[in-house]
Each structure stands twice: as C-alpha cells, then as structure tokens.
C-alpha cells in the first residue's frame, strides 16, 4: 500500500500523536489539540488506521457511559511520523525568504 500523503493537516495530527506516542487519545481531544474539524480529522484517522500507522480500541471510561474510541501510533506509525516530520521541518526551513510571512 502506498504511503499516505503528508498534507498540512496530517502533519498537525502526527505532531499531536508524536508529542506523547505512548498514550491513547480521544477523537474530540485530538480535534481540540490540532484545531482540525471532525470532518477533516476522522478521514485522516481512517486513512492512517488503514495504513496501520495508527491502532485503535474501544475503552469504557465511566460506568453507564458509552465506550469511547481511542487511538495511538503503532511502532510503524512512530517511525513513519518521525521521518515525515523531519522531512516536513526540513522543507519548512528551506522555504525561500520572499515567501509570505518571511518577507
């Protein structure tokens, strides 16, 4: 399977996961942390899960409340995220001086 495309939204999501790769994250928390809307966030989560970069599970948080879906990076995901974030930061640092925001 081809690698997923690293859009700016994917980078933001990956950064959120990489900040604490061991912990399981809720969808709504990820949305607040990355500023991604649900309509953007979930397609990304679905894609990354399909590429086995993310793993997910259902957890029960409180008695009497429905279980929640949680996500975290797989080992492959951690490696992929590290590589891609490094590439992304290199690309950002190589941006020409006359582009918007650097003038």
């Amino acid at each position: 399977m081809k690698e997923p495309r690293m859009s700016s939204q994917t980078v933001r999501l990956m950064e959120a996961f990489v900040s604490d790769p061991e912990s399981w994250r809720y969808g709504y928390d990820l949305s607040r942390e990355t500023g991604l809307m649900s309509g953007t966030l979930y397609p990304l989560l679905i894609r990354l899960t399909k590429h086995r970069l993310l793993e997910s599970q259902w957890v029960t948080t409180q008695q009497g409340t429905p279980p929640r879906h949680v996500y975290r990076l797989t080992a492959k995901g951690v490696k992929f995220a590290a590589e891609k974030l490094k590439e992304a930061s290199r690309a950002t640092s190589r941006r020409p001086a006359f582009t918007k925001g650097h003038a």
Binding site: G27, S38, G39, P43, L45, K50, S56, P66
Partner: protein
C-alpha cells in the same frame, strides 16, 4: 452529557447518517457518535455532527462507487421503471412516445401504415361472438383495411341501426369508397334532415377530382354538376350533426367494457377536427363561387360553420410533447449505457451510473409530461367531457412528430438533444468519479 435541543438534533443527524452508511463505516460512525457526548458547547456539538456526517457520507459514496460495477444503481433504476410501468398513465405515455418514433422511422407512407390492426381484428372477432354492435363500430372506424372495415361497419349497423353514423365516419375517412352511394343513402334514410349524408358525397367527389394536370402544373378543376347538387342539398338541409357526440359515447362504452385504455387507438377513430371544419369551409366557399347562391346562414351546415368559427391552424407542439418524445429516446439510450456499464468492464462505471440516473430521470420526465393527457383521456372516457376530447386529440394528432422519415427536422433535433444530454451526464459522472478516485489515491 448534555441534553439540550441542539445536542439532541446533532445526535439525531449523526445517528441518521450512521444508519445509512455502509457496514465498513459503522464502527467509525459509532466512534464519532460516542465523542459527541463529550462536546459540551451546543454549537460545537452541531459542528461536530455535521463534520462527521459529511465524512461518513463521503466515505459511503466512495465505497459505493469505487472499483465496482454499478449493479445496485442499475437494479434500483430498472426496478423504478418496472414500478412505473404498472402505472397506466406511464404506459400510455411510453406507448405514445414509441409509436411516434415508429411512425417517424419505419413508416414511409404516413401514420396509416403502422397501426395495430391485429389488435383491432381480435376485438372484432370477440365483438362478433358477443354480437356487440358498438364494439364492431369501434373497430370499423379504426381499421386500416378499408374492405374489412366496411364489412364490419355493415355488421355493426345490422346489429344496431342506431350505429348508422359509422357510415359517415367511414365515408369521411375513405372518400374513394365504392360503397359511398350506399352509405349516403343509408345515412339519409336514418337521419334525413342532416346535411352529413350530402356532405360525404360532395367530399368524395371533391377529393377525387379537385385538381387536374395543366400546362403550368396542377390546376383547380371546375366543379361538376354532381358536386354542386350534393353541396346544394347539404346547404339546404335543416341541421348538421357530425355525429361526434354519438361516436364518443359509443366508443367510451367500448373502452370501458373491453378495457382498451389506449388513447392513440381511441383518437385514431376521429378525423382531426380543425382540419375537417377547414375542409367543409373550403367546400362551401367553392360551392358559393361555382353556383353564385348560398342558403341563409341560419340553415344547418352554415350555422354549424358559424358556430365553430375559423379553423385553428396546426398547433405547434407544446414542450410537454417534446418531453414525451425525447423521454423514450433517452430511456433507450440510458438502457444501452446501463448494459455497457454493468455487463462490460469496471472502467466504464461512469456509463453505467449515467444510464441508471438518466433512466430514472427520463422515465419520470416522460410520465410527468404525459400525465395531464393521461388524466384528460381518463376523464373523457369516464365522464364524456368533449373539452377533454380536444385536449387528447390535439396531443395525439397535432403534437405528434409531423410526418415520417429520417430527414424530419424535429426527429433529428430530438435525437441530437437526447445525445447531448446523455453525453453531458456521462462526462459529468466521469469527472465526479475521477475526482473520487483521485482523492482515494491521495490517501
């Protein structure tokens, strides 16, 4: 977990989308729904639900169309058309549309050639067995085979003399009949005060000998004494009845008893009204020119012409007629695309989807465009309202493709329109699928 109205609406929206999403997306949908309970702000909850619904819907569309033959849309569209076929109005509209194409494409001599005589013959056999004069008159007024129609008309009148008007209908339809004098005599005996029996004789003499080949082409012949005598008798008659009311009432009875709910077959038994009035007006004008005399205008035939006024010109086809005619053509094209798209390879999935969409749309348009005429026909048969008769007649005579032949401009325009619609929709569908495929590849 908040229970505000907005939260409830957001939950309802997301549950609804989850309900219609494919099995592969259900788990994700439930994940989105469970997170909604933790969004405290009502506006944020609604935004969350809308965003998730869009994501689910988009994923559902992608899963439904990518890499699959469009079997489900094809089955749905064919099923919808089969259901529509159960509706009499749709069947009538489709029949009218297909018949107009048959006439245009396969008939070289005009509408008389391609009419369902076999169906009429079967009805005649049944009517003979039942000794049903009205049904025999119905057949006689419509059969293309003149000899058979004369024989059946005589049978009908022998069974029921009140059906003698059928001779008038036959005489008008076939001016060259050898039985013309017999018909005229019988009509005169049955209805002596009516100008109709004289008029059919004049009409038969007129139509056969009006023009002759002259040195500069066709020349109008001077009227014969026989024609002048017939017209004189017609204009002297105290009344004129074209037997339309009698014929319609008899035909309505036959349609209801035998279940022949076919407006095309029904209308075939009637001479187009405005053209007929125009013919009589022409005859009267020629008579006054030839004889120099005319009866007072309060007499039967002249009063009839005064009351019916100037004949209408041939009506331009209304947009609904065009929709009915293009409808069946589009349906045929859609079925072709549907077959290619579902039977052939996955690469032509756009054609299959186009076929499915266009099949439903064209069938619906055809039905909607024909519906007013189907209703008019139903009211005409059940209630006998003559104003409904004009509506049905004008659609099935003036509205039809005028004249046969592949060079017919209206026919070519219809074919071109149908082709443009199908190609455009195919292209749009192809572009949508390309966009979906591209977004999938990016993933």
């Amino acid at each position: 977990m908040s229970d505000s109205l907005v939260h409830k609406m957001a939950r309802f929206l997301l549950r609804l989308t989850l309900h219609i999403s494919p099995a592969g997306m259900k788990d994700w949908g439930r994940a989105m729904l469970s997170e909604l309970d933790y969004v405290e702000n009502p506006r944020a909850a609604m935004r969350w639900a809308i965003g998730c619904s869009c994501a689910l819907a988009w994923a559902s569309i992608r899963e439904a169309v990518m890499g699959r033959k469009p079997l489900l849309p094809a089955a749905l569209s064919v099923g919808a058309v089969v259901l529509l076929l159960l509706v009499p109005g749709f069947r009538q509209g489709l029949n009218a549309s297909i018949t107009s194409w048959e006439l245009a494409m396969f008939s070289s001599r005009g509408p008389q050639v391609k009419w369902p005589d076999s169906r009429l013959r079967a009805l005649a056999l049944e009517a003979e067995e039942r000794k049903d004069g009205k049904a025999l008159a119905f057949v006689a007024a419509r059969l293309t085979d003149t000899k058979a129609s004369v024989r059946i008309a005589r049978q009908a009148v022998a069974l029921d003399s009140s059906l003698t008007w059928v001779y008038y209908v036959l005489a008008l339809r076939n001016p060259a009949l050898s039985e013309m004098q017999f018909f005229a005599t019988k009509l005169r005996e049955w209805d002596p005060e009516n100008a109709a029996s004289y008029l059919v004789v004049a009409h038969s003499l007129d139509s056969g000998a009006l023009f002759e080949q002259g040195p500069l082409g066709l020349m109008r012949k001077p009227p014969t004494g026989e024609w002048i005598a017939a017209m004189e008798a017609a204009t002297k008659a105290t009344r004129f009845d074209d037997y339309l009311r009698l014929q319609i009432d008899s035909d309505r009875d036959v349609v209801q008893r035998y279940g022949i709910w076919d407006p095309l077959l029904f209308i075939k038994g009637y001479k187009p009204g405005p053209r007929f009035i125009g013919d009589i007006q022409g005859d009267v004008r020629n008579y006054s020119r030839a004889s120099g005399t005319l009866q007072p205008a309060d007499r039967g035939l002249l009063r009839y012409l005064q009351e019916h006024g100037v004949p209408e010109s041939w009506r331009r086809p209304t947009p609904s007629v065009s929709f009915v005619q293009i409808g069946s053509l589009l349906m045929a094209g859609s079925v072709l695309l549907l077959v290619i798209g579902t039977v052939w390879r996955r690469r032509v999935v756009a054609l299959g989807l186009t076929g499915a969409v266009c099949l439903i749309v064209s069938a619906t348009i055809l039905y909607a465009a024909y519906l007013p005429y189907a209703r008019s026909f139903y009211r005409l048969v059940t209630e006998g309202d003559l104003s409904e008769f004009e509506s049905v007649r004008s659609f099935h005579t003036y509205g039809f493709l005028p004249g046969p032949g592949m060079r017919n401009p209206l026919l070519m325009e219809s074919v071109r329109t149908a082709a443009i619609i199908l190609i455009s929709v195919s292209w749009i569908t192809h572009m949508v699928l390309w966009f979906v495929a591209r977004s999938s590849r990016r993933a």
